[in-house]
């Protein structure tokens, strides 16, 4: 069975972050991508989701950990071996227009594939294969072949790129935010296409920040925060019964058509000494060192969530914690929270 497997993959960038400590992009991430499944990798900016995609596509090397494809470590590939790897693992990126070289016609991306992988295939046979791939993504060859990228719509560009992956015998598709730059009316078509391809056996890593897209299309969901997995499992379980604070926070923030954002009363909100409190509607006391607002202002609640997130970050990556534990700052920074099984098929990380 063809599987992509990530095992304790970490990525540390050399430049130190603004906070003064080291900010790792990935912290010992492990998961498997079996065939015929769509796995959503959901995270906000800075979560490391794009880095995972790049590691999988061999566009960047992990600092530690292994990625195996069919049992072989992908970092051992080079030259011809790497080219063979790309026959099975391909990627589609966020901005469809940027994926095309503007000086050439759009279907040149197919010529590149042909030159590298099918040099001996005849012209007519190749044209037939291209037509077949285009048909699989519901594009009319007459509409899209021979055109320049700026003459095509975003949806057409994106689907052309997916068809390119189909021309190779691709087993794994890394879809990095492929929907976000498309119009609402074409988004669903591309999503439905992914579902159809998955049913034909393709494994898809669907990287996104949009929870509703992930919910629609994926079988498994992995939530990333600051480079580590905080919750993962079957999509219905993760979205239906979220356990981690972060997941719950994200779900409560997603705007929905038929349900307004819920506002809940807040616990103690530490207030900086001397700061002027915004006038709370029911005249809560102001000026105390720590104040319990029973009906907080809406914005206070949200900045509280942000402060919680920031506090975690500083606590986790700070040099002080490293000194306290006696380990190197890098070792401390790379340590992810422990994942525990909440129920079969649903893992939740300990709070950091």
């Amino acid at each position: 069975m063809t599987t992509v497997k990530l095992d304790q993959v970490s990525k540390l960038y050399r430049a130190a972050s603004r906070a003064g400590g080291l900010t790792p992009a990935l912290r010992k991430v492990s998961f498997e991508l079996p065939p015929g499944e769509v796995i959503s990798l959901i995270g906000e900016s800075g979560s490391g989701k794009t880095t995972i995609g790049k590691v999988l596509l061999r566009l960047t090397k992990p600092t530690s950990g292994t990625v195996t494809f069919d049992g072989t470590d992908i970092t051992t590939y080079s030259g011809r071996g790497l080219r063979e790897y790309y026959r099975h693992v391909q990627g589609v990126f966020q901005d469809p227009f940027s994926s095309y070289n503007p000086v050439y016609r759009a279907d040149r991306v197919y010529d590149l594939v042909r030159e590298s992988y099918f040099p001996k295939v005849g012209a007519r046979e190749w044209a037939a294969r291209v037509d077949q791939a285009l048909d699989a993504v519901a594009l009319n060859p007459g509409d899209v072949l021979g055109k320049y990228p700026h003459q095509l719509s975003g949806g057409q560009q994106q689907r052309l790129l997916i068809a390119r992956a189909l021309l190779l015998d691709v087993k794994v598709l890394v879809a990095d935010e492929i929907i976000s730059m498309l119009d609402a009316s074409t988004r669903v078509d591309v999503l439905n296409l992914l579902v159809k391809l998955k049913r034909q056996g393709l494994a898809v890593l669907f990287i996104t920040h949009d929870l509703s897209l992930g919910n629609y299309v994926s079988d498994q969901t992995i939530l990333l925060r600051h480079g580590a997995i905080v919750e993962m499992g079957a999509t219905e379980k993760v979205f239906g019964n979220p356990q981690h604070e972060y997941t719950k926070m994200l779900l409560s923030a997603v705007p929905e058509l038929h349900r307004k954002w819920q506002h809940s009363p807040l616990g103690p909100v530490p207030v900086a000494a001397g700061a002027a409190l915004p006038a709370a509607p029911d005249g809560a006391a102001a000026g105390a060192a720590a104040v319990t607002l029973t009906r907080a202002s809406l914005l206070d609640e949200l900045t509280h969530a942000e402060q919680v997130v920031k506090r975690d970050l500083r606590a986790v990556f700070g040099a002080r914690r490293a000194a306290a534990s006696g380990r190197s700052q890098v070792a401390v920074a790379l340590e992810p929270p422990v994942l525990r099984e909440f129920e079969p098929g649903h893992l939740v990380a300990d709070p950091e």
């Binding site: 940027s98 050439y104 016609r105 320049y148 003459q151």
Partner: protein
């Protein structure tokens, strides 16, 4: 289980029968753009036209000359007239012949110098920009060293060891001393282009570095590279003329700079021998001027923001 996307292909096919949308343009807009603006840009047309005219003179002119350029005629210091179209100098050289031959030499040395500098500069620039890291540092070091070396002094030193200097030597010398700014500019552009997504896609298509540089990155710099070559051409010509003027160029051929050198050495200005020193200087100025005007025009064409529409 129903095929969830079955509705989509039907709908997509139906869509093709609809009246033309924005993608109806038959010819690619980008190529059209270049030609459209190119043919309407006055600066480009003027510059190119003038330059072509001068090239024509350089090619045909020498055949119309009555005397070889370095042949001493027995009629020194003649005013321009029907016998000697541009007169003669103090030694008796036919100045028209010298001018047209000088034009030819200038173009030759310009092409040589530009070609050399472009080749070396682009090669090193691409390599440094693509690879980065230690190789880039080393190449930058070499570039900076070349920049620091005063080329005039170098020319004097090398020249003193050579028994005779040819146009070929001059051209190659200019090429090998002016490539640094090309390399720097190409390196900077390559750096920025190599992180584009279509470069990643080429990697994902199994393409190797050389192929990606030549076929993905370079074409996106094509307009810039074009302009670089034009500017190199002009500056090579000027540099060669200045070397010749100082007497550091080849002395067995008549070049524009050499003619001006002779005129200066013989105080042509004081003696009002205008037909000796004005034509070569004016020609040189015109050649470079035409190139620069064409360059400005090309810049406007390639950069939509500069168009005054």
């Amino acid at each position: 289980m129903s095929e969830s996307v079955s509705a989509a292909p039907v709908a997509e096919v139906a869509a093709t029968g609809l009246p033309a949308g924005p993608a109806a343009a038959s010819a690619p807009r980008r190529r059209n753009d270049i030609f459209y603006y190119g043919l309407r840009n006055r600066k480009l047309l003027f510059g190119l036209g003038l330059e072509l005219l001068l090239v024509l003179v350089a090619v045909i002119g020498p055949y119309l000359a009555k005397n070889p350029p370095m042949q001493i005629t027995p009629f020194p210091l003649q005013h321009p007239g029907s016998r000697f179209w541009l007169g003669t100098d103090i030694t008796g050289y036919d100045l028209y012949s010298q001018l047209t031959s000088g034009l030819r030499e200038s173009y030759l040395v310009g092409a040589l110098g530009a070609g050399c500098a472009a080749l070396v500069g682009m090669a090193l620039g691409f390599i440094a920009g693509w690879r980065g890291g230690l190789l880039d540092e080393v190449l930058q070091l070499i570039t900076n060293i070349i920049v620091m070396i005063p080329s005039l002094v170098l020319l004097v030193v090398i020249g003193s060891y050579l028994s005779s200097k040819s146009i070929l030597f001059e051209g190659v010398f200019i090429g090998l001393t002016t490539w640094p700014w090309v390399a720097r500019a190409v390196r900077a552009q390559t750096f920025s282009l190599r992180s584009r997504e279509y470069v990643d896609l080429a990697r994902l298509s199994g393409k190797r570095a050389v192929s990606i540089i030549l076929r993905e990155i370079a074409p996106n710099m094509a307009s810039y590279l074009f302009l670089v070559v034009i500017l190199l051409f002009g500056s090579s010509m000027l540099l060669a003329a200045s070397y010749d003027f100082l007497g550091l160029g080849p002395t067995n051929v008549a070049s524009l700079g050499w003619t001006m050198n002779q005129a200066n050495a013989n105080a042509a200005l004081n003696y009002h021998l205008w037909w000796w020193f004005i034509p070569p200087g004016a020609m040189l100025a015109l050649m470079v001027f035409a190139l620069l005007i064409a360059n400005v025009g090309l810049d406007e064409i390639f950069n939509p923001k500069l168009r005054d529409q």
